[in-house]
Symmetry: C2
DNA sequence: TACCCATTAGTTTGGTTTGGCCTAACTATA
DNA sequence: TATAGTTAGGCCAAACCAAACTAATGGGTA
């Protein structure tokens, strides 16, 4: 590997390590270090689809309704979600995320935010602008 | 959030997305998209400790020996690891990773490498050097 | 030297818990 | 009667365990 790439690898490896530390911190602050990959995916699905019902979430995730009931019961126990009955139709129940649930659904974004804060503290404005300019060319 | 941080967030979010795509690609190239978080942690432990035995791995991961036997049997089925008897002491068996196993243990690093390659292709040498210089100040 | 026995390494057996999935049957509302 | 969600009961895989087992080693002693 050329030296330039090697150096780039090292600095990014360090950045990713910082982000991962932020990520772990967020999960353990919420006491939810043992969330599974699946559970996070469900939380994201709920977060993305506003006022989602059990039937709708079953459709979205391609699972049966009992599976959704079970999953939501788990989330309620974890204080990540709660039920809200529709005022118009007594059969319908909306699934909402709690503050904690939203935090978990967006844990990666939140960790990135924390990392960015650290970055901004370590750099001056000119450096940040330069960084943005260069990295824009990659995406 | 200040505009500067917002922009920084966007460019890094995009970079992380690229890295995650590389990550997924690596797992599916190996046909191991369903590896669990635990399994990856075990693979890393094996990769880090050279010529590790069952007893030693049980110590390192703080699990019983039957748990290790079970886990290694799974890895052998997945073609991630194999057993090698000690030539000196017939009771001792070393755990080794296959090429695939090493790839999985270092999937994150490999994904980062692929991302860096994409980056280097998109930037010129001066930009890369500048990037390294700025990011060094963060770590 | 040869045998026996305690020790060590790993495996097998049989068990638990948790997550994640299902169908079929149920309840309540529309 | 149709729809929304729940309950009951079941399945399988992952991840753990203790206890009992097998095989190899390495003394110690007859």
């Amino acid at each position: 590997m050329p030296a330039r790439e090697e150096h780039l690898f090292e600095v990014f490896d360090r950045l990713i390590a910082i982000k991962n530390e932020c990520s772990s911190a967020i999960f353990s602050e919420c006491g939810l270090s043992r969330l599974t990959v699946k559970q996070i995916a469900y939380l994201k699905a709920i977060d993305e689809h506003h006022d989602v019902t059990f039937s709708r979430l079953a459709e979205i995730t391609r699972n049966s309704k009992p599976t959704i009931t079970e999953m939501i019961n788990r989330f309620v126990r974890m204080e990540c979600a709660y039920r809200q009955k529709s005022p118009d139709d007594g059969r319908i129940v909306y699934i909402h995320l709690t503050e904690k649930g939203r935090m978990m659904a967006n844990a990666e974004q939140n960790a990135l935010n924390r990392m960015i804060e650290k970055m901004v503290r370590a750099l001056d404005e000119k450096e940040v602008d330069l960084l943005i300019e260069i990295l824009k060319k990659v995406g």
